[in-house]
Symmetry: D4
Subunit: 242 residues, 8 copies
């Protein structure tokens, strides 16, 4: 685009080169890993494959890990074309590319989910937490309409430092799990449902009203955010960069 | 009445004197007991104590049972002033007055509730079902955050012909109960909660999304409606008037 | 998917083989028929035809009946490829496959609907109830704007043990039917409508506010759930598996 | 109030004295009767009794009829103190004061309502239409859960030029009436209900989705607006001032 | 579809042949013209072209006029294949077919609209009213942001017996028109807008809050309903069939 | 504070004593006048009269002007007890106290409102703008149902540098005004209305959908915010403190 | 036009031929530039390319500037086919065509945006303001999760006469900017987000609740409206046509 | 209450005496401390002072700590009458009563809040976390409209193991804090605001859309829940009872 008659980006007092990479269509925040414990993550929707690849490249050039969420196969292909070490997790729609081999996983994050349809969100959480250095345990397909499946796995849940609990429909699972453990629970509502489900609004609201204290909630289908939160909890006060 | 082109309700036409009592401020439907299995019920809010008493009187005069819902102590007093046999259930806000001694209770309706705050609604359901002739079992304070309390009572639940399950907060209890029994469940959301609870909207929506089939739902705090539905189910095809 | 660095499903204390079939992408609850009176039902959206067929196979292998809802023709084809006895009801989008010939239908469930557009939902309810052993009577296209059509069929309605009443638009039908019978009514709102209909929210809310007691409600377009509830009611206290 | 430093109402080109009466706290539109067929109506909430009386006085001084809606007894007292001919309808909360004796009522407006609790709104509509010169017929307490009461009065409904149909709860009455007559129906939802009734939103939405064409809708509890609309319809093309 | 094991439509006491045409997939109400002043109208969405044509045929066979709304070109083609006299109004998506030549139009309905994008809805209203015998005047593209266009046409508006006012965006036009005329106004909100317009909900709500009394409202984009209401008003108490 | 990597707010770090007054229950931002052109304003709800007075005292001590919004008479009394020069505008619920005599008012802000009930909000806007140095013109009671009142004052509107347009009900006034002037309009919805007015949500949404460009919107009843915005616009690029 | 009883818009009355171009499918308001400071703008959705081109032609014929919003490439092509001087800004979806060379830009409008995904809306605002004669400065990709990027550019923001602040997600940017400058801020929420973002409703509501006064808000994604408002503010009281 | 004819609480297989205290009006879960790390907390609304005191007594009798939330002064008085060691925190509406002296506080929880009006919720969080053994740091009145106050305290925030961030209005604070630290943040929306704030819904939604990952959210005004979550996080994997 040629901007009309003469107005242009302000000359700004630029921060140091280390803090920011200016790609014209985006300004990559290179200090975020140090500041927030996780390098800037690429949110893929609305970006071209080439743009995703270029941002990934800027992060790699700065020696940072790359995590790209909600990535399409085409976007993954573009990144892998330049960085063959990148891994694409199709179900979770994540691209992961490490600047250095991962450290030995620490602590324990349990990812629990209610039904098979919730699996992509659960995997996004699990892989994100693992990317940030957590040991991850999966406890899948343990919905509340068949309690015995969940009750049979309580000991596993109690060993975790943080739990991510993923559920659609009426979103009852975090309440039930919250009554069984003494660990922080990050609840993730999913858009799995129909009718007056409102694309996940109902489980989200149900989780915010969970009768078990210690349950906190993230946005609908936000497995990534839940994975980050659980990984930060899991670090138990240690300062780590990812 | 001249109904359009030939179809006629059995034995209507200008309704017989027996079918209606005109009190000027209200027209009491005296045929409802025969038609719907329950005499017209008095919904008390917005009526003066005298009006409630007069409607009760009209029903009594017609030899019908009287049930008045959401009644204030003043309204109850007015009814009892004219009909000392009337009973006022304060927690459930019900006035009950029988034209004839109740029949021996039949079948079994279980009323289950999550927390003490849900008790008035649960009692409204239990007393209504009993009024309509059901044997009623109460299973109270068995919320999902302490599953063992519920699991210890599963055998009782399984013996019922119909279940009323009452819950506020996130409304998860019907889903859990629904996974444990093979009986029809009438779920009642309550207005117990705060914040994004919206006065009971959240448990109502959660119950409509319950992952256990066989769960049906009534309006918020509508213990009366749930009691009626459960009693009708409990009659198991027998035609009874109340 | 290859899960990243070392985290893996927890070793869990598994329930007995009889209770569960683990297909890796799903864990089929084989005890549900015994526990809830209906074998686990396959909710088809989001599953591949092959997955639907494999779950059906697991149920068949365990000697259970198969019911699959919201099934596409492709999914039906996949099931029928392996199990030629399966029947696909296109309008209702149901796949039904019986482990043994059906018992003689019992009781009576009336399925009532307001307009032709509501027919697929009504059929889903009718076929589900029939699958669970109920004798089913259909009373279709009897909307409230032409009352004579409904009034002409009142005697039929009164003979049912349970009624399913399906309506879109303003959802008035259950209120009118509820004033004519003394049987439990399961109301099903449909997404048929436009403008401020909000995809069925308006009839759902209207039904929850129905002035006739004894009306309970299921989620929008949830003919399946209504059919299950009606069938459970129709069993009249008998314990049956489907 | 003394406005701060010097800003003041603009000197405006004032319209002629006949068109407007400036009371400083209000500017009364004296041309509305001629323009819109009904003199400016006083909406009472938020006005002091003295203000209501003064506006009434300004209308009287201009030889116009006075109608004041949602009036409290105190406001009515203030008006009657200055204008003893004013009539206060307590249930409908209307004050009416005629500049000249009413003309012989014309045509016919039927006001229909579902339950006793809807009566104040129905009366507001009936009295407003009568104030504007219509002959009014009341058909009250004919809710859809007891259809025979309505069917017995169909002939009355068919004789009206316009119908106002008032209902709370699920708001089904206009649909049913609309299927019985060939006259324009103005539907008025009321705030009578509880739970997911949302203060009348549910019957309002139901009425907007009424399956019977020819139904139009006004705001919740807006008996006044419905009365005006029905009276304008009833005039049948004649130009009348009120 | 082959319904499962033995349940079948109830044998019902059928109304007389004149009142109803049973096409198996629909039951056409042939008495509606006499009862409601307009023959049953075909709502086309969700029907196959053949079904629309068959219902049209049944109406024609009974000597009734045919009006079909929201019709696609394919549906129109199917009707015209059997009934060459049928007319398809593409913008308004209406199919009209008269059993006999129209009577001379009576009275006057003015259809007013705010912007060009609202035109299809306005045309649906105008053609419907004309179909029902009204003389129709169109006053288009007179939005409130250019008041002079509207003010220049006030005399035309004042000559109408009923007005239909169509607007999207903020829906202000009915309020402004309502302040200029003494006729009943049927307001039609349209789905024209974006952002927090919610598909027409905002103008609908604005119209329900219109400060001008005498305004009544129909559902979003419901030009048909508005046309029916205006035509019924326009008949001025005469009983006419269409 | 050690801000991350090198960028620093000019002259921050632990803020100088001048920048903040710590009252223990509140920390008053004394730099806001310099930074934002208006000293920190006291939002009174939830504060005790003593707290309001103490915050006012801290501002006075720092030589700053005091404006307190939504103040009760008691809060005003408390401030006036310590600062007799404070003025309380009862209708607008504002307390104003100047550190120095006001400068000569500049420019011109027109405050327009639809009905008398909107007056308190309009006054809050007018007094706030005046407090910030604007010359203010009031054009009140010019609702769209009586257009002539507005049209008679167009010349006044056109002379303003900024307009505040206040309206409840359907919120149509800003659209109409926006079609008459070439000045920025700040629209203020009010909570005046009933039924589906939702406490001002409807005019707010209507204003956001205004068909006239150049209209921007503030929160419901936020006369203060509108006054600030209009005063900032009115300054026309000059930097002034208030 | 004959306006009612004597009040007249200055120099209107039946509009002169210059005031309107009637294209049958649209009536172009040629007086708007004079009246509102900006010629009628073409809102493209729902118009054919030929219609857009014809309206553009009518404006050109009247010597007016042309701005068309939300234009597709096809619509742009049609305009450029007739008017090669027209410029199409693809990201902003604007067509601009000047009747005469632009005047030297005046004042200063800063357009600030939070993330790259908000860029199309920001560009629509920037180009619109520039089209209306403003000097425009862009400050992009300065979201609140990396404050240093914004703080480094505060001096630029403070030099503007008006700011447009564009943000999706939680819409926090206007609050933060509002705490840093003493200029009017027009906030634009964007539809960038997911889950309980409701297509931009959340940032819109957040902006309406911004704790910094002086923030006003436009509809979701309405960069055009924000650009107009900012340009009108930037003119600082001068009367200019565009 | 005397329950009607013969239905009574089921004889249930009771869990061991240690697990539960049955007070008839409530059943106290004595195993929760062991299971969930916090003894059953008394939610006071709707309970009589005597009931609160009796539940507190049952917990004390079982050697457990007592925490009662949303307690009124009367409820506190009742508890203190029986247990003089109980402490009532008026602002936070908490009653705390320790079975044994608290352990030395561990870790660090920072509680951050935006404005003075949010203080009661912040205190509820702070006191709850402290009750559960956390060292707590308060950083109050650091809203985003005066960023320097927050930036001056970043070092404090970075030393915490978990942060609770409390904000009303537009709820922007968690996003800003989330961009400055690498710790898990529990965001608490408050009901502080007006207009389209919807009692805290807007900051809740804004927080769920926070652009900074690692932010999780609890219900509106739920300082208690946030305090529990933060305390569980702060324990860093150690198993503690409170």
């Amino acid at each position: 685009m040629k901007p009309a008659h003469g107005h242009r980006p302000a000359k700004r007092g630029r921060p140091s080169a280390a803090a920011e990479a200016d790609l014209r269509f985006a300004r990559v925040d290179l200090a975020r890993s140090r500041r927030c414990g996780l390098a800037e993550v690429i949110y893929c929707p609305g970006k071209t494959p080439a743009q995703v690849a270029r941002i990934a490249g800027a992060l790699v050039a700065a020696g940072q890990n790359v995590l790209a969420t909600r990535a399409s196969p085409e976007q993954a292909e573009a990144v892998r074309g330049r960085h063959p070490g990148a891994v694409y997790h199709r179900a979770a729609r994540l691209i992961a590319l490490r600047a250095r081999p991962p450290a030995w996983p620490i602590g324990s994050v349990a990812v629990v989910c209610a039904g098979t349809a919730d699996l992509p969100v659960a995997e996004e959480a699990a892989l994100t937490a693992a990317f940030m250095g957590a040991r991850v345990v999966r406890v899948y397909d343990v919905g509340v309409a068949g309690l015995h499946r969940l009750l049979a796995r309580v000991a596993v849940l109690r060993r975790a430092r943080a739990l991510v609990v993923v559920a659609g429909m009426e979103g009852a699972l975090p309440s039930v799990v919250g009554g069984l453990v003494d660990r922080p629970i990050v609840a993730v509502p999913t858009s799995v449902g129909y009718g007056v489900h409102f694309g996940g609004l109902v489980p989200l609201l149900a989780m915010l009203n969970a009768c078990a204290p210690g349950v906190t909630v993230v946005n609908i289908d936000n497995g990534f955010g839940a994975g980050v939160a659980a990984a930060l909890i899991n670090r138990a006060g240690r300062r780590v960069r990812a």
